[in-house]
């Protein structure tokens, strides 16, 4: 009997999908493999490739096996194809096929729609590794460097997951798409990544933490809705990816939290009560809270754009086809078809932002975005608790969803972070207070000096409360290769 829980290492590609008895797909993946390794090797600076990094690797997809920690050189990381165990008699959870047996093969009529969703998801995975490629050079500690590399190798594994689906279920087109995932490259002139947010380099560690908190959380929501797919292999793939995605959320939330903690500590140590006394706070080498609020405004609003148009027929079609569900579809108590339901979305009527009911089927994106906002606001509260505990009078908050939007009904209109429509002049005057300026970027950049001593942290960030895998504070998370 095939063992679908434990990872098999009898082929070059660790997997729990029985690759060794699926010669066609194995051959296709083995052909793709060298290109992937080349992509990885060209990406991250060589001395990090040679370093021993304390990483977790999944050895099985049940809870006990998917987080085994050990020192690994990143190019030797066991990337592989891991799917959550198949649920017996799983049914299609939503849309016109709701209640029918989930598909184990691609239904012909939805082939192109499915392929496109998989390619878009797949394209974001290597893109973020590309965006973050140089961050190791300015890591504020070995602990943070290890977390960065963990995120990177797992994004690499998520690429593998999508590439497996393309090779296994989409024949020649699938192989071509898989090759294109390695051909496109973040920020490239001729072949950029598919989504705009994935073509900007991540310039500094605060941006990285904000990215993992806000943008990876969009990724989490997309995975959540694909985990509800009636196409069972996609659902199983995404369910396992979600377990890894939780680590990325953790890196973001604690990274921003530790930055805030350090700022507040330094303010208190130096008797600074006014959080807006920016120059004085910066003179002690920490990032002032108003600048952190500006970074938050930027990353949150960029991430909202990733959800697309508020009213979308593509999203409606995907839901109706049972290809993509809603967040926590199985916990929603309705008919899962949305034939007569409505949902409230934003729209612009002249100069007025109004909320109105539209058919729920067309508002799938909006609903996911609302779920995202709820999910994202939890961390803000916990950051505020840190500020409060350290006795600083300041509160971070999410800006209004109309602010700084490039996609959807608000794009092209000048809203302030409170959601008030303002004149062009007011907008220009407000922007330096609402979004990070180049000068803010320069200041943050000036703090980005690497700290490579075990147990030591850069001055702008507090140490974590708990080590990875419960390791002690001075644990050497990365044994740096010295050439």
């Amino acid at each position: 009997m095939q063992d679908l829980m434990n990872v098999s290492y009898d082929t070059q590609i660790p997997n729990n999908v029985g690759l060794s008895s699926d010669k066609r797909v194995l051959k296709a993946l083995e052909k793709w493999h060298p290109g992937y390794i080349n992509w990885w090797n060209d990406l991250i600076p060589d001395n990090f490739q040679q370093s021993l990094v304390y990483l977790r690797t999944a050895v099985s997809v049940d809870p006990k096996g998917w987080a085994k920690f050990d020192y690994v050189k990143m190019p030797e990381y066991r990337w592989g194809v891991l799917l959550a165990p198949q649920v017996e008699d799983r049914k299609i959870p939503c849309g016109e096929h709701a209640g029918e047996v989930a598909w184990q093969e691609v239904p012909g009529e939805y082939r192109n729609m499915l392929k496109r969703l998989i390619v878009i998801q797949g394209d974001t995975e290597p893109a973020s590794v590309e965006q973050q490629r140089f961050l190791g050079l300015t890591a504020p500690s070995l602990y943070d460097m290890r977390n960065l590399f963990q995120v990177n190798v797992e994004e690499g594994r998520h690429l593998w997951a999508m590439v497996y689906l393309l090779h296994k279920y989409f024949g020649a087109d699938g192989r071509e798409e898989a090759d294109d995932l390695l051909r496109r490259s973040s920020g490239s002139e001729e072949a950029p990544r598919m989504l705009g947010a994935f073509n900007e380099e991540t310039p500094d560690w605060l941006s990285f933490f904000m990215f993992t908190y806000f943008t990876d959380r969009d990724g989490k929501m997309q995975l959540e809705s694909l985990a509800q797919s009636g196409f069972d292999p996609l659902s199983r793939t995404c369910r396992f990816m979600l377990t890894e995605e939780a680590h990325h959320m953790f890196v973001g939330e604690t990274g921003v939290g530790r930055t805030i903690e350090r700022t507040c500590q330094v303010m208190k140590e130096n008797g600074i009560d006014d959080p807006y006394d920016v120059d004085k706070i910066r003179s002690f080498g920490v990032i002032d809270l108003p600048t952190i609020q500006k970074k938050l405004n930027l990353h949150y609003t960029l991430s909202l754009d990733l959800f697309g148009q508020e009213v979308s027929t593509n999203a409606a079609n995907a839901f109706n086809a049972g290809i993509k569900g809603r967040y926590m579809e199985h916990r929603i108590d309705d008919d899962h078809k949305l034939t007569d339901d409505t949902y409230v979305v934003w729209n612009m009527e002249g100069d007025q932002a109004v909320q109105k009911e539209v058919p729920a089927l067309t508002a799938i994106n909006m609903r996911l975005r609302d779920d995202y906002t709820r999910d994202a606001s939890g961390g803000i509260q916990r950051w505020n608790k840190i500020i409060e505990k350290l006795g600083v009078d300041f509160k971070l908050k999410l800006p209004h969803e109309a602010f700084n939007r490039k996609i959807g009904v608000f794009s092209g209109h000048n809203f302030d972070p409170e959601g008030k429509l303002v004149s062009g002049a007011e907008y220009d005057a407000g922007i330096p207070n609402w979004l990070p300026t180049h000068a803010d970027g320069d200041f943050i950049q000036s703090l980005m000096k690497p700290v490579y001593e075990p147990g030591q942290y850069a001055g702008w960030i507090a140490p974590p409360k708990v080590g990875i895998d419960n390791k002690p504070g001075d644990f050497e998370y990365v044994k740096l290769h010295v050439a």
């Binding site: 939890g378 961390g379 409360k465």
Partner: protein
């Protein structure tokens, strides 16, 4: 008075509310409100499924309590309460969650002279996935005699297959085997502990199997039972147990291993782990292994084949015809320079495993070697132990 009990808690200051634990709990013991994610003490059965899935480490919190904290109390927390003073509870490196097994291990590790700690770079062990109330069934996949037919000791290499049941075990950990039969009160007999002799990825890599090294003891209720099993027979297994006698993952760590008889089991696992996992390990491994004669020394053949650059072997025999009796401590004295060098190196980890009787001679020899190096052995040993670098397991 109520017996104190161990309660599983989540640290609300560390938790990021990703709910991965809640989704992975097989019995819905984890739940959340707007504020916190919490564990229901009346449901949690310590299966540990939620521990590795947590990205933050907030889930690995335990308090020994007289009365468990209620869900409402836990929902209201902004931070975790400190451990109350309940009967000397210490939560570092919990070796086993049931008292009987914890006691057996405490007894075995007594020779370290104080509370044992795991090496700083050791992997985090899983403990007590299976217990007397809920054992796992393992199938015997192999049973080979390791000592020669002429030898009067019968030591066997037993391979157990766990099929589809997860059984993550680290080198140096033990598993319990439940012997057949009942005690005088009609209760099942307590499991006997055996140290695994295979590395963490299995006797055969990535097959879900482990090997044991079992010596047939006269009248041994469990050892005879195991040694008599045929391929395909089933055993009831508990564990894994043990959270301190573990190997460092650090490839530059140096290992000094001293054993007699079946005490070699964990060292076979350590050696195989190094061979499989850390090609290019820079730390050396040195082994002192005592037996009566070569044909009663388990793994004599395979051991000879491990190259010296990986493992420096000192095989000593106390009943070799025509030769003087030699015990491990005798050879240690001969190798004084090497040992003296190792005990001064902060990368060195010392492991002693075997019959209780060997402890005294080995201790005395370390003492003498340290003294000649101008060191106090008890100071060196205590510092190494506090650092997770000195480990004793004797029986």
């Amino acid at each position: 008075m109520n017996k104190p009990l161990k309660q599983h808690l989540i640290d609300p200051e560390i938790c990021i509310r990703c709910y991965t634990c809640e989704m992975s709990c097989p019995i819905d013991a984890i739940t959340h409100d707007e504020n916190n994610v919490v564990v229901d003490a009346s449901k949690c059965n310590f299966c540990m499924d939620c521990i590795p899935v947590c990205p933050t480490g907030s889930i690995d919190e335990w308090r020994v309590v007289e009365k468990p904290y209620s869900l409402e109390e836990q929902y209201s927390w902004m931070e975790l309460p400190v451990q109350q003073d309940v009967g000397g509870a210490s939560e570092n490196g919990v070796e086993a969650l049931d008292d009987a097994m914890a006691q057996l291990l405490a007894e075995a590790h007594k020779g370290a002279g104080g509370k044992s700690r795991p090496p700083a770079s050791a992997s985090k062990p899983s403990v007590n996935l299976y217990n007397l109330a809920k054992p796992v069934v393992a199938k015997v996949q192999g049973n080979y005699r390791l000592t020669s037919e002429n030898s009067d000791t019968d030591v066997r290499h037993i391979i157990l297959d766990f099929g589809s049941h997860p059984f993550p075990v680290l080198e140096g950990q033990s598993i319990g085997v439940i012997p057949p039969g009942q005690d005088a009160n009609g209760q099942p007999l307590l499991p006997r502990l055996y140290s695994v002799s295979s590395p963490r990825d299995g006797e055969r890599p990535n097959y879900n199997n482990v090997s044991l090294t079992v010596k047939r003891e006269p009248n041994g209720a469990c050892s005879n039972f195991i040694c008599d099993r045929n391929i395909g027979d089933e055993l009831q297994v508990t564990g894994p147990f043990g959270a301190t006698f573990l190997m460092p993952n650090d490839p530059s760590a140096r290992l000094l291993m001293i054993c007699t008889g079946t005490g070699s089991a964990p060292f076979r696992a350590f050696t195989m782990r190094r061979q499989r996992a850390s090609a290019g390990a820079t730390g050396d491994m040195v082994m002192f292994f005592g037996a009566r004669t070569p044909d009663s020394l388990p793994y004599f053949g395979p051991l000879k084949k491990v190259p010296d650059r990986i493992l420096k072997k000192h095989l000593v025999f106390s009943r070799e015809p025509g030769q003087d009796k030699e015990y491990v401590q005798d050879r240690m004295r001969v190798e004084e320079a090497a040992i003296s060098d190792m005990i001064r190196d902060p990368r060195t980890h010392i492991y002693i495993c075997g019959l209780r009787g060997m402890e005294e001679g080995v201790e005395a020899t370390f003492g003498a070697i340290a003294e000649r190096a101008g060191l106090s052995w008890s100071t060196v040993r205590d510092a190494m132990r506090e650092d997770g670098r000195y480990h004793v397991e004797t029986y």
